[in-house]
Structures are given as C-alpha cells and as structure tokens.
Amino acid sequence: MALNLGCTAKPGKTRENKTGSWRVFKPEFIHENCTKCGMCKIVCPEGCILENEEDLPVPDYDYCKGCGLCAEECPAEAIEMKKEEK
C-alpha cells in the first residue's frame, strides 16, 4: 500500500491491498468429502471461492477474511476452520 497524500486511492487498489491479512481462522477444504454442490461459492460474502479444473472449490486466501460461513453451510463437512499461524 502506497501512502498517498490525503489518504487517496485509485480504482483497482484492492489488487495491491490484500485484505486476507484480517483473517484469524482459515477455511481448509477437504476435497475427498466435497460433492461439488457449490453452496460455499454461493454463501461466500467476498466472492473469493473459485473452482479448479476439476470443478472443486479453491479459496482465494488473498481476500478470504475467514468468516467461516462456507464451513458453517457446507452440507458435506468438507470445510474446516483452522486457527491460522502467522
């Protein structure tokens, strides 16, 4: 993050400012349990659950804030929230 005079920001600033640093708990995806229902993608408030080439969910940890909604809603118990070591 550049310290711009007047606390200003140009569009696209969040590409530089990775907000994932706010996270305390990190969702870990257990792909063996995943049924590809897509619920985690739907409930993620940050839209940061992507898919890999096998259509399995992959979180974008640069922006995931660890709210835990995906783990709470996952019907297959395929997401675990783990305390993150920094």
Partner: protein, 385 residues
C-alpha cells in the same frame, strides 16, 4: 489605502480578494457579519463564487470538504458551538489534506451560554491537524487570511488553517485597516492548483480506509506537514513583508523583550492591552516584555525557548482552560522551556468575555514576581463562598 472598517467587514473584503470559488457557512454570533457581507458580495456579482447555504455547521464544512476535493479554493467561517459541531469534519479535512481556510471569530463555549470572547473554541481543536493563526488587531486578521491561503495551498504543506480573531473585541470594532487591492492580493496569492482532485475521467477516492498496519504513518505524515509549515510560514510571511511592509515571518513576535525580567506570553487581541501595560510598567522602571504567539499550530516551541533566553520568569495568559489541567499555551510553553530553570506561571483569564485591563496585566506581573501563578486570575471570590 487606509479604511476605517468593522473587523468582520475587513475580513470579508480580504476573503473576497482571495477569490474563493466556493463559500459554505452557517451564521452564528459573532461571526454573522462576515458571511452576511460575503453573501451580499456574491449576490452583487463582485465575487464569482458559489455560496452554499447549509442547514448546519457540520454541513458547511462538509460542503467545503467536497468542494476542495473537486479542486476549488474554499472558505468558511464559524465560532464556538458552530466549530464544536464541525469537530468530526475538521479531522477529516486535515487528514485528507484539503487547504480549507476558515475564520474563527473566537467565542466561549457553553454551558453556561456565552456569546462573548475567549479562545476555548479553536484551542479545543488544537489536535485536529489544522494550522492556527491568532490576530492581535483587524489589520493582522485580514493579512493572515492571505498568508494562510498561501501556506495552506503550498504543495509541501496542503493543510487547512484557522484564522482566529477575537469575537466582538475585533469582529465588531471599527479600526483603521490598510486594505490591499485586488491587484496586490493577486500578485501575492496565485490561483489555487489542487494537488489532486475529483475527476470522472480519472477516478480517485479520498479519505480511504487505513488498516492498523498503515494508519499511524498517515498521522505521522500529517504531523510532519505541520512541522514543515513553520518554515513555509516564515518564508511567505517574509515575502508579504517585502511586498506590503508588514512582516509576518515570525510565528512569534516580541515587544520590548530584549532586556526583560518578566516575559508575558499571550495570543490574540489581549496583546494590544499588554503592550500598553508594558509601556506604563517600563516607565515605572519595571523590565517587562511581551512574546506574542501568532501561530499556535504549528507550535513554535523552539522559537519561544530562544526568545525567552535570559528572562527571569514567564507569565502565560490563557483565554482557555484544559479543564482538570491548565491553560493550553501555559502547558506548551512549560514544555518548550523544560530544563531551562526559568519559572513558567500560567494565568487563566478573560473567559466568557470578561474584560482584561492594563491594571490586570500589572497585577499579574506582580503575582509572577512573587512566584504566584498557575491559577485563575480575577475570580469573583465573593461568588464562590
């Protein structure tokens, strides 16, 4: 050209010469005459500005913030409770580094309700990041507006500024004022060049969120800009003196201080009374001098320490009180002189418009000589029983 003018009207004329493009203000005693006159000046097409009538002081300064973000030179004026209502916006204007200039016609804060002068309103915002200038007379009140715009808009500074002058004592008093002409002001104050501004073709957001990882650095940058302002004020104050004969290069100004035993420190219109009192005391053989603080923010601590070398004691007059502590100027002068062994005695006085006369200044000097200080001066003891 020398004019006999009411202080408020001298200031509104000076502001007109600064060519603000947006004025947003809400009338409040004793500031009303300034914005009333400006409204008339704009309505008469003597100034090409948008005059925004708002429903509160919070909106007035918010409108100025927005107009400054859009790249305009802006102006507002307020006092007392009006300034208190602007508290939040003041910090935002300074943090976003908008060079807003605002006249503060100093008035006491309630309760109890008082429309009369002291410095509690602007002093209470000393931590907001704005520069603060205090005027001794109406001449200074007008000139400091030109200086404030020039310093504030300098791209090395980019900070807002209060130009303070005492309610009624100056604002409603007719005094001779050497009014500059539009051409003279134009030759001193160039058109405003915004550092960056709102532009739909090149979008930008102001006042962005800063996480704990970065917030402190923004505050540091703000503080550094205020410290840097000391030399910029000195440079532009000197330039003003060279062009128009009145030198404002000093953040402080001394009067008969060279061989003084007792130094008085004060801000604002009381300095005129103090100078007369000093003349009388000097005639009676007492070595007393004055150090006037013209810029309270940035605070000229080093300049004060240098000017007070050799005095035996310092009496600081504060028309404000940080309740539960002391007067603001007293605290900062004590800090500036820390380790010097020069006793600093604070006197809180003149609150809510109580007159301070020459005999009061003489009495304070007597107290200081006896080491009696850090007190309210002139309390009505009979009322406190």
């Amino acid at each position: 050209m020398m004019d006999i003018m009411e202080g408020s009207h001298a200031v509104s004329r000076a502001v007109t010469f600064c060519r603000p493009e947006v004025i947003a203000a809400y009338p409040i005693t004793p500031q009303t005459h300034i914005v009333e006159a400006l409204a008339e000046i704009v309505a008469n097409c003597e100034l090409d500005a948008d005059y925004i009538t708002v429903e509160s002081e919070f909106s007035a300064l918010s409108a100025c913030l927005g107009a400054s973000a859009a790249g305009s030179r802006v102006y507002s004026a307020t006092t007392s409770q009006g300034l208190a209502l602007m508290f939040e916006v003041c910090f935002n204007v300074a943090g976003m580094r908008f060079p807003v200039i605002m006249s503060i016609v100093n008035r006491a804060l309630g309760a109890p309700l008082s429309i009369w002068n002291d410095h509690q309103d602007s002093i209470s915002l000393r931590d907001s990041g704005w520069m603060q200038f205090y005027s001794e007379d109406n001449q200074e009140a007008t000139d400091l507006h030109y200086l404030a715009y020039k310093v504030a808009e300098d791209h090395r500074i980019l900070l807002p500024s209060f130009v303070c002058f005492d309610g009624f004592i100056l604002s409603h008093t007719y005094e001779p004022v050497d009014m500059l002409t539009q051409e003279q002001v134009d030759s001193y104050l160039p058109p405003f060049k915004p550092y960056h501004r709102l532009d739909v073709k090149d979008p930008i957001s102001f006042g962005m969120f800063a996480s704990p990882d970065y917030y402190q650095e923004f505050r540091y940058a703000n503080d550094q800009a205020l410290h840097k302002a000391k030399e910029v004020i000195a440079d532009y104050g000197r330039e003003f003196g060279e062009m128009f004969g009145r030198d404002y290069s000093g953040l402080v100004e001394s009067y008969r201080l060279d061989d003084a035993d007792t130094a008085i420190i004060a801000l604002g219109s009381i300095c005129g009374t103090v100078k007369d009192a000093i003349d009388e005391m000097r005639d009676a053989g007492k070595k007393v001098g004055l150090l006037k603080i013209r810029a309270f923010r940035p605070f000229p601590g080093k300049e004060i320490a240098k000017a007070l070398q050799g005095v035996s004691r310092v009496a600081v007059l504060d028309k404000n009180i940080s309740l539960g502590s002391k007067g603001a100027a007293c605290l900062e002068v004590k800090d500036a002189l820390y380790g010097s062994q020069i006793p600093v005695l604070g006197y809180v006085l003149g609150l809510g418009g109580r007159d301070i006369r020459k005999k009061d200044i003489a009495a304070i000097v007597n107290n200081a000589e006896k080491g009696i200080g850090d007190m309210f001066y002139g309390l009505r003891e009979e009322e406190l029983k």
